[in-house]
Amino acid sequence: MEKLLKIDRRILFVLVALAVTIPLLFRFKMPVPPTRHVKSMYNKIDSLSEDSHVLISFDYDPSSKEELQPMAHALLHHCFKKNIKVIGMTLYPAGTGLAEKAIKEIGKEYGKKSGKDYVFLGFKAGSSLVIMNMGEDIYTAFQEDFYGKKTVGMQALKGVRSLRDIDYAVNLTASGIYEAWIVYGKEKYNFDLGVGCTAVMGPEMYPFIQSSQLTGFMGGLKGAAEYETLVGHKDRASAGMAPQSVVHVLVVCFILFGNFIYFASGRKK
């Protein structure tokens, strides 16, 4: 029995790889019913009129790209579809490349132009300081956009002076930066805030949801898949739900089996 516990872990690695690959190859469909926290984010954006301003802060880098980039895509599809003006920015230097790519590519699909229908402001250092500076005046925080164009007078920013004038802000985060957005942004300048976070951060959102400091949140690839379902644009996240299910079952089996042997063999050290 105990020998089973000491198998080469590379065998386990292969099992995991198979559990992910096979469901991807034989794409069996999984229903992804949207949960209420994702739905409330969707409804919020859906209720906005044309030419409203949605700020998306892409606060992540390539290491959490696989979870957060699908969310960014789904959100952008939704905003551009509804002709909402998108203001993009990032507080991570390595977030610039990912954010720019997402906005530009999806903007192109809907024929949107930089500076007119959306603006990508780029990166600034100092996290909470950037948020507060934008809360006072967006044009001092970002005097130029990512491409070096002056932000003052830009059509995409018409009617926006500070964060107070933003209709909805979404923070896509891989770290504790969401807390800075709540403490120094939402609570100070009084705008509606939603969060899209890696699944690791997911459980931390619940106290803020209940105190209505957040309008909603998307957690991990699952959250992205739900948003894709709501927007009606199924993509990578939805396709990822089948392997996600299978691999979860595998991990649960591993835990149960490992513990079974552990107890059966008398909890030896």
């Binding site: 609570e187 690791v200 951060m201 050290k269």
Partner: protein, 403 residues
């Protein structure tokens, strides 16, 4: 006939409950009896607040429109506000008042040159349905002014003052009275046991620093705990390996361990190379440590400080070698993995408490005590506040209302 009658009865029933319908029906609007404008309190001087009592004619089809001018005689042409009449009520007024803030500067596009000139604005309230329009006679006026204290934040201010005083007092107190009480942290005994076992087995103990530099509280706490472990190790004569990722932490750790050996009276047993820089980045750090764990099979592993995703690989490798493992971290996202792979885990603030307990530094003890008192206050506020609120008494929630 039947239909008309039932409609008639139904309309009487509805009408008696909704005065609005009645008012519109009669082609008449009952305008509000009063209309006030005043400088918005607690603001930067940009906005003016308008307030007026509700009218019985309010409904979905009726609108309130406010026109604005810079002279009392008008012309009142600039539209400052247009709302559905049954919206935007004053909070807590039970729908009997409307309260709305507007920013006149935005509407008039004031030039920056006359920013310092204070302007008085005049407002006219009009009620409109698609049939008729009526104006409130009274013209309200106000001058926006900046305020120097936000009174709605006074509770926040008081909390800040109380907390500051509390911390300063507690630290002072801890300086004067040395033995401030701290409960025993269970995991600390486990450290001694683990070291004892390492001695028995004649194998080394491994102390792994977290991934934060010397400026983080977790690392400072880790250093304090390291001091204690080093002292025991020096007494027991067990080799102790300490891995670091930052040069500054390395230097401090070396000093601490050296001092512990001195204190134990065995400065000769101190080997400087046992406190080492394992790597400079996350994954190489993991790789280096996994190597040490599998090669040297330490009998006890201590993971102390702030950890990120590497926590899982580290503690898993350690568990596979059969070592006793003790973790102490304030990284809450990593705690689940330490709890399931280590024999004992110090969670969150227990790490700071353990460091205060071991170092007996008045600064740490005092601030720990102050934070305890703050928690005590919060616990009582929650318990009493919830109970009183359940009984319908809400002054506690009023006191702690966010500003």
């Amino acid at each position: 006939m039947h239909k008309t009658l039932s409609t008639f009865i139904l309309s009487i029933l509805i009408l008696s409950y909704t005065p609005t319908a009645f008012a519109v029906e009669g082609n008449r609007l009952f305008v509000p009896k009063d209309f006030q404008a005043f400088d918005t309190p607690n603001d930067s001087g940009k906005s003016i607040t308008l307030r007026w009592p509700s009218s019985p004619s309010e409904s979905d089809d009726v609108e309130y429109v406010v026109y604005m001018s810079t002279t009392i005689k008008g012309p009142f042409e600039t539209e400052a506000l247009r709302i559905r009449s049954n919206t935007r009520y004053e909070e807590g007024s039970n729908y009997s008042y409307h309260l709305i803030d507007i920013e006149p500067d935005k509407l008039f596009n004031k030039k920056s040159s006359d920013k310092d000139v204070k302007t008085t604005y005049f407002f006219k309230l009009v009620m409109m349905s698609n049939l008729t329009t009526r104006t409130v006679k009274k013209i309200a006026s106000a001058t926006p002014e900046g305020n120097w204290f936000n009174w709605s934040r006074s509770n926040n201010f008081i909390i800040m003052i109380i907390f500051s005083v509390l911390i300063l007092c507690c630290i002072n107190h801890a300086k004067r009275v040395p033995g401030l009480f701290i409960r025993k942290i269970k995991g600390l005994d486990a450290i001694d046991d683990a070291l004892g076992r390492a001695t028995e087995m004649g194998k080394p103990a491994l102390f792994v620093h977290g991934l934060n530099d010397m400026d983080s509280i977790s690392t400072i706490a880790a250093i304090n705990i390291l001091g204690r472990i080093a002292l025991r190790v020096a007494e027991y004569d067990t080799p102790l390996k300490v891995s670091n990722i930052y040069p500054i932490v390395l230097t401090v750790s070396q000093e601490v361990v050296k001092e512990a050996y001195l204190e134990a009276g065995r400065p000769d047993a101190y080997v400087e190379d046992n406190v080492f820089l394992a790597a400079s980045e996350q994954f190489p750090y993991v790789v280096a440590l996994s190597g040490i764990m599998t090669r040297e099979k330490p009998a006890a592993n201590f993971f102390v400080g702030y950890f990120y995703a590497e926590s899982l690989i580290l503690s898993e490798t350690g568990a596979a070698t059969g070592a006793i493992q003790i973790a102490a971290t304030d990284a809450f996202t990593q705690l689940p993995f330490f709890i399931t792979t280590c024999d004992y885990t110090l969670m969150g603030e227990e790490l700071y408490a353990a460091s205060a307990y071991l170092s007996r530094e008045p600064l740490l003890l005092g601030s720990l005590r102050a934070q305890d008192i703050a928690k005590e206050i919060i616990i009582s506020v929650i318990v009493f506040g919830a109970l009183l609120a359940t009984c319908g008494i809400d002054w506690i929630s009023f006191i702690f209302k966010p500003g």
